[in-house]
Amino acid sequence: MLVMSAGLLALVVFALGAFFYTQQQTRQAAQLAQENRAALVRPHSPAFGNPGAKVTIVEFIDPACETCSAFYPLVKSLVSGSFGQVNLVMRYAPLHKGSDEVVRILEAARMQDLYWPVLQTLLKSQAVWVIHHEAKPEMVWGLIQETGLDVAKARSDMNHPRVAEIVAQDIADGKTLKVTKTPGFFVNGKPLVDFGADQLKALVASEVRSAYGK
């Protein structure tokens, strides 16, 4: 009896502790994002959807991250199914080894107006070029050629100093906002702390409601 109640008590303490800790973390993350609004969206950041939308999803993405790839169709549909009420801003958090080079390839594709098709191809073919959690940038080229990319031009563009600046700025902003896992989502500056597809949908829906009314 004593053993049972002590065990139960310990579990209750654990659950309460977890609850309050998570709540505190949520508050802190929200505050951090509030205080660093400038770090959320930079003028250089690629955007998708209606530029005048009142709800903006900011996604810190690592092209080599499996969950980012799994979330991509959902994120895209949240924008395209919103009748112009939601747009998307991409930021980079290349946490995997070799991933920063793939990000630079993406930026080179942006110069040829092929950013979104190349990103989509990269995410879809991730299993080919991410081996044991390490990105292999050299394997990417053959895969993204199908988008009509001028590979020779992209190979030189990716070494442009402006590209390196963008990547460095995004990594710095990710650190400021404490994005340690990808994908990291912010909707109108509110961080998605309790991670999940339904939670993201709910957060976007609630922001759409408060921006556009019912």
Partner: protein
């Protein structure tokens, strides 16, 4: 007859205390890892492997009382204690760091592994294992004297 019962009662209490320590250590480790998101290093994993089963083994030995559970739990506690001691020595720099078997992931000598600002987690682990070893050894001794 009465003396056997009181020895049994005392043994039960010591095992219960050891169980409480192991339970607190287990939940504490899970809280650090699962709630706070601190990645366990390799040595932490070995200590977890020793500590987690002690909770189950001692719980089974407590209801109904069976002091043979000490036989099964004590070797685990001693093994965990040794790893914890090694971990603490590494943490304090007594053993040079290049002997650390942790490559990727969390470092075993990470200074961030500190609770409440000053208690290193490896030390907490060593304390927990020490208590479990002491409590269970008392039971072992008492049952021998019986």
């Amino acid at each position: 007859m009465t003396s056997t019962t009181s020895v049994q009662d005392k043994s039960w209490l010591w095992i219960f205390l050891a169980w409480l320590v192991a339970l607190a250590a287990t939940l504490g480790a899970l809280f650090l890892g699962e709630v706070m998101g601190v990645l366990p290093c390799v040595l932490c994993w070995y200590q977890r492997i020793a500590m987690f089963p002690i909770v189950i083994i001692l719980a089974v030995g407590l209801m109904p009382f069976d002091d043979r559970c000490v036989r099964y739990a004590l070797p685990l506690a001693v093994a965990g204690w040794l790893v914890a001691l090694y971990h603490c020595l590494l943490y304090w720099g007594v053993i040079p760091k290049d002997l650390v078997p942790c490559g990727e992931g969390a470092s075993c000598t990470d200074v961030k592994a500190v609770l409440f600002g000053f208690v290193p987690v490896p030390l907490l682990s060593l304390a927990a294992f020490s208590l479990v070893v002491v409590f269970l050894s008392i039971v072992k001794k008492e049952s021998k004297n019986e």
